[in-house]
């Protein structure tokens, strides 16, 4: 009654967990008042423009700087020779390899950095860059990873050609990087030998690029008087970068400050340390003035962290009912010319071993062979949770292939193989413990919502009608993915564990500031972390300020990628808030002159059990904690910091259904309906979750239906600008329908799992399955992405479906 509405009022005032609080950061973004790297102007700042190689593989015979140096405005031209005295012409990568900062004697991919021109404004810098004369001797390029390890193949990495390993085990060939295996090969082989049904398919995950709206860049500023280096950088992991810079430069880590301000999209593209950053930093150290370097769109697509390029073979062995007995997944991974993507030292192929997906598969084996080619370096990026997109694409495609082979409905085959609700926690054949989930319920809910039976009837009718102008396809994706890297015993980068942190300070008048080791690039952290603290501490979210990204102020963390913010830093936030709450309870007990055990918490205050008139609000306690009226021996203040080492990763899951109609004559695919059900455990801000799902699905649509980074046989990029690269607009993008179930994570303080990458991981196979399902009655089992109109048309033409 009056009580209930009063309680609801107090709860609403907090705008804590579960409310769709409007994002606090949007006001400045919409007004164009964000602070991005290119907005930064420092006095005396020079601009850097990079001279890049037109050839994919060539020796550098000479570099002539004279014309460039004579260009008005040009202050200096740096080449590898200028970096040698500080031993920075090569740098270690996050993947255990080394990468050329500026090409020394040879270039290994097209657009590789060869020199940087520094000038007083950006146009003079570009003019100067056009005047640097580089004499190249072209070499044959390797573009097809299947040819990288052929006998007699040109050696790409002469700098490490005698090295027996590059961080991840023995190499078999100069162009081989590593081979990683997991699971039990003998058991899997035995399962295949005895199984009545086996399927095998070659499946390509083509090279694509996240193409965030903001390109990469930095402003490096070295103060010669204080010896202090400040770098404003588009980085998803400022603390890791600071540590790496300390290792590289020899400057004490306490004298380095890395600042990630507002970042216009990361998607994994802004995790690696790029040569442009390093040269800008060296240039600033040498000249003593700030140096800005920022990429053009073409630079970004051509040279920074791409995604995928996994050439896979999927095999499943099953009984006659389609119950899977064995799995063998192998991949040839094209890493480009350097192994530079982020890589936990024990997991060079990322979390690919999640490829058993949502299914109980008793015998499994996976193997990834990584090779060098004359292309830009990278591989892990684009909302992939560390190779999880590749793994889930493979298993979800193979489930459809198996269904077609066995002759079973594609939803039914999944039901037969799901991990059952009562089997959780379930340890997969690769050793991951899925802590919680309910796959049957999710799938059933989705199929009911779209009237799956009705759709299959409609499809059958359309297939029977020879005059129907379209092919109808239904795609299903029931994925489990793995995020929240990660427990330090399993995950580290260059030795640094992947824990994360939150530091909270509460002010006397009830305002709060929280600083964390993660780094938002648009995920809404300023809002969601505030909501967590609001619910934990009973203080309104509008009074809670969240800061990230300045390594001078924020506690150490591994940054934001792989959907790890909620699982790790979100947990740290709850833990830190609870430390404060515990202290506040003691103060309340002291003020109310009761024992702690006599108090109970209600929304925003401590009440005495059985005596509701006796209460102290958190707001009152904030002020009291700054006075002398405290229990004996207690220090003033309500502050706490938590460093959280997660006990396990988290496993968000979902069930998606996509309905498409493919035009038989043009190959154009219209997405009639896309229904996405996600389970990310406890939901902090439903509106932000929905935004993340929309974003991930749109990127999934882009990847499945149109994105690719093709090369010709000489290693030339074809399609490295927005003239060709498919970024969907409102015109092409389908309408999304979202739904959810909630299966809380048992090991997370809030029960939350993280969600941002799930829609991308689950969306790509869903679109692909839908398009291929449109052809499956004609015996088609697989078609490689992207399913652009032209590529689909070629299939229609080959099958003779486009003849009237």
């Amino acid at each position: 009654m009056g009580d209930q509405s009063e309680l609801k009022d107090r709860e609403d005032k907090l705008q804590g967990m579960g409310t769709s609080l409007l994002r606090k950061e949007d006001a400045r973004f919409i007004r164009g008042q964000g602070s991005y790297i290119d907005d930064i102007k420092l006095p005396g700042m020079l601009f850097g423009a990079i001279v890049r190689s037109p050839y994919a593989h060539a020796r550098i015979k000479s570099i002539d700087k004279t014309k460039a140096l004579a260009c008005p405005g040009v202050a200096a031209v740096l080449t590898a020779d200028d970096l040698k005295p500080v031993n920075l012409h090569w740098m270690p990568t996050l993947g255990g390899d080394v990468q050329a900062v500026l090409a020394d004697k040879k270039v290994c991919f097209q657009y590789q950095e060869v020199a940087m021109v520094l000038a007083t404004d950006r146009f003079a810098a570009y003019d100067g860059a056009a005047l640097v004369e580089v004499d190249y001797e072209e070499l044959p390029a390797i573009v097809d990873p299947k040819l990288s390890m052929a006998p007699g193949a040109p050696i790409i990495r002469e700098d490490i050609q005698d090295k027996k390993e590059v961080g991840h085990g023995p190499r078999m060939h100069p162009n081989h990087i590593f081979t990683w295996e997991a699971g039990d090969k003998a058991a899997a082989d035995a399962a295949f030998k005895s199984a009545p049904i086996t399927v095998r398919e070659e499946i390509l995950n083509p090279r694509v690029h996240p193409c965030p709206l903001e390109t990469c860049g930095c402003v490096a500023s070295f103060n010669k008087a204080t010896g202090y280096l400040t770098v404003y950088m588009t980085s998803q992991a400022p603390h890791l970068v600071r540590t790496v810079l300390a290792m590289l430069s020899g400057i004490a880590e306490s004298k380095i400050r890395v600042v990630g301000g507002d970042i216009g999209g990361g998607f994994g593209n802004k995790v690696p340390v790029y040569p442009g950053y390093v040269v800008a930093i060296v240039a600033s150290i040498v000249t003593g003035v700030p140096v800005k370097w920022i990429e053009s769109r073409i630079d970004n697509i051509s040279t920074t962290g791409f995604a995928r390029d996994y050439h896979c073979v999927g095999e499943l062995a099953a009984d006659k009912d389609g119950r899977i007995k064995g799995l063998r997944f192998t991949a040839l991974a094209d890493h480009g010319a350097f192994n530079s993507h982020v890589s936990a030292t024990k997991l060079p192929a990322g979390l690919f071993s999640i490829c058993t997906g949502s299914y109980a598969i008793p015998n499994a084996y996976a193997r990834v062979d990584a090779v060098y080619t004359n292309k830009a370096p990278g591989g892990v990026a684009y909302r992939c949770s560390l190779r999880v997109t590749e793994a889930i694409y493979l298993i979800e495609r193979m489930m459809d292939v198996l269904a077609q082979e066995v002759g079973v409905d594609k939803a039914e085959i999944r039901r037969r193989n799901f991990v059952q609700a009562e089997q959780f926690p379930y340890t997969t054949s690769f050793g991951w413990t899925l802590d919680s989930g309910n796959y049957h319920a999710a799938l059933d809910k989705v199929l009911k919502a779209v009237d799956y039976e009705g759709l299959r009837r409609e499809q059958a009718a359309k297939r029977a009608d020879p005059n129907c102008p379209t092919l109808m396809g239904i795609g299903i994706s029931t994925f489990t993915e793995i995020v929240g890297a990660g427990p330090t015993k399993v995950c580290d980068i260059l030795g640094v564990g992947l824990f994360d942190s939150c530091e909270i300070r509460v002010h006397p008048t009830g305002g709060v500031i929280a600083r964390l080791g993660t780094m938002s690039q648009g995920q809404g952290h300023a809002t969601t972390y505030a909501q967590i603290i609001a619910t934990e501490l009973g203080l309104p979210a509008s009074d809670i300020v969240v800061e990230e990204g300045d390594t001078d102020k924020a506690p150490y963390g591994a940054g934001t990628w792989g959907s790890r913010s909620t699982p790790v830093s979100g947990a740290a936030t709850a833990m830190a808030a609870r430390k404060i709450k515990d202290k506040a309870k003691k103060i309340a007990a002291h003020l109310l002159e009761v024992a702690e055990g006599d108090l109970e918490w209600e929304i925003d205050r401590f009440k005495v059990k059985g005596n509701p008139g006796q209460a102290k609000t958190m707001k009152e306690i904030c002020m009291v904690s700054h006075t002398g009226n405290l229990p004996a021996g207690m220090e003033q203040g309500l502050n706490a910091v938590s460093y959280y080492d997660p006990p396990n990763l988290t496993f968000p899951f979902g069930a998606y259904v996509c309905v498409v109609d493919v035009d038989k004559f043009t190959g154009e695919t219209k997405v009639r309906r896309f229904y996405a059900l996600d389970d990310c455990g406890t939901r902090i801000n439903p509106m932000i979750i929905e935004g993340q799902i929309h974003g991930g699905l749109t990127e999934a649509f882009a990847v499945a239906m149109g994105q690719q980074i093709p090369f010709d046989e000489s290693g030339n990029h074809l399609g490295n600008s927005l003239m060709d690269y498919f970024l969907p607009t409102a015109v092409e993008t389908p309408a999304w329908e979202t739904d959810h179930t909630v299966t809380p994570c048992p090991h997370h303080p809030l029960g939350a799992k993280g969600v941002a990458e799930s829609p991308h991981v689950g969306g790509i196979p869903c679109f692909s399955n839908a398009v291929i399902d449109a052809f499956s009655h004609l015996g088609v089992r697989h078609m490689d992405m992207p399913h652009s109109a032209y590529r689909v048309w070629k299939k229609l033409d080959a099958l003779g479906l486009n003849k009237r």
Binding site: P54, Y55, L131, E133, D712, S714, N716, L718
Partner: protein, 200 residues
């Protein structure tokens, strides 16, 4: 990015006159729109430039030409040209075999087989237009070559032809004009086909 070009152009002079001009690398370069020989290193090695304009942007290729084979018996010349655009963004190379086939006493054909390779920005952006544009370039070249032969014709033993005055100012190759020429020719071809299909 490789393109094969095989073209044959009729020339209004005797085969040996045409052959004389073909062996004159500097004279041949003068017929290529936008090209210029800048240095003669020796009888088989030259340095040169080719300028291409696409609207406001210019590419200036700087490179080397090596004459690999000169066979007077079959009036065949083989040369290899390689260059980079001075802004460093593109590279190009060409392997060309050119020969003169006598037709009759007063005419012959200039036959060219070439493989052109592009890399860098020119390959990424120009790749889709390369074939038709290269065709247009060859048309212009052969027209210039024929005109030069005509000028040589009235007097002259081969020796005099070689002492021709210096090449005219090499104007940059106007790529937009070439693209327009490609489109114009394609439209013409279309209307030509339509005419052919009209019932008599």
């Amino acid at each position: 990015m490789k393109v094969q070009l095989n073209r044959s152009f009729p020339m209004p002079v005797r085969a040996d006159v045409a052959w004389a001009l073909l062996q004159d690398v500097e004279g041949v370069a003068a017929c290529m729109p936008g090209a210029k020989i800048t240095e003669r290193i020796d009888a088989t090695h030259y340095k040169g430039t080719v300028s291409v304009k696409v609207g406001p942007a210019s590419l200036s290729f700087r490179g080397e030409i090596e004459v690999k084979l000169v066979d007077a018996q079959v009036r065949t010349l083989r040369l290899f040209a390689r260059g980079t655009d001075t802004t460093g963004g593109s590279g190009a190379s060409m392997d060309l075999t050119a020969r003169i086939d006598a037709q009759d006493a007063a005419t012959c054909n200039l036959v060219g087989d070439s493989e052109v390779s592009m890399s860098g920005k020119a390959a990424g952006f120009g790749a889709r237009m390369m074939g038709p544009v290269a065709d247009q370039v060859m048309k212009r070249f052969s027209a210039n070559f024929a005109a030069r032969l005509q000028a040589m014709q009235p007097s002259a033993p081969a020796a005099q032809a070689v002492e021709e005055p210096a090449a005219p100012e090499a104007k940059p190759l106007n790529a937009l004009a070439l693209v327009w020429a490609v489109i114009r020719d394609w439209l013409r071809a279309l209307s030509g086909k339509r005419r052919a299909q009209k019932p008599e």
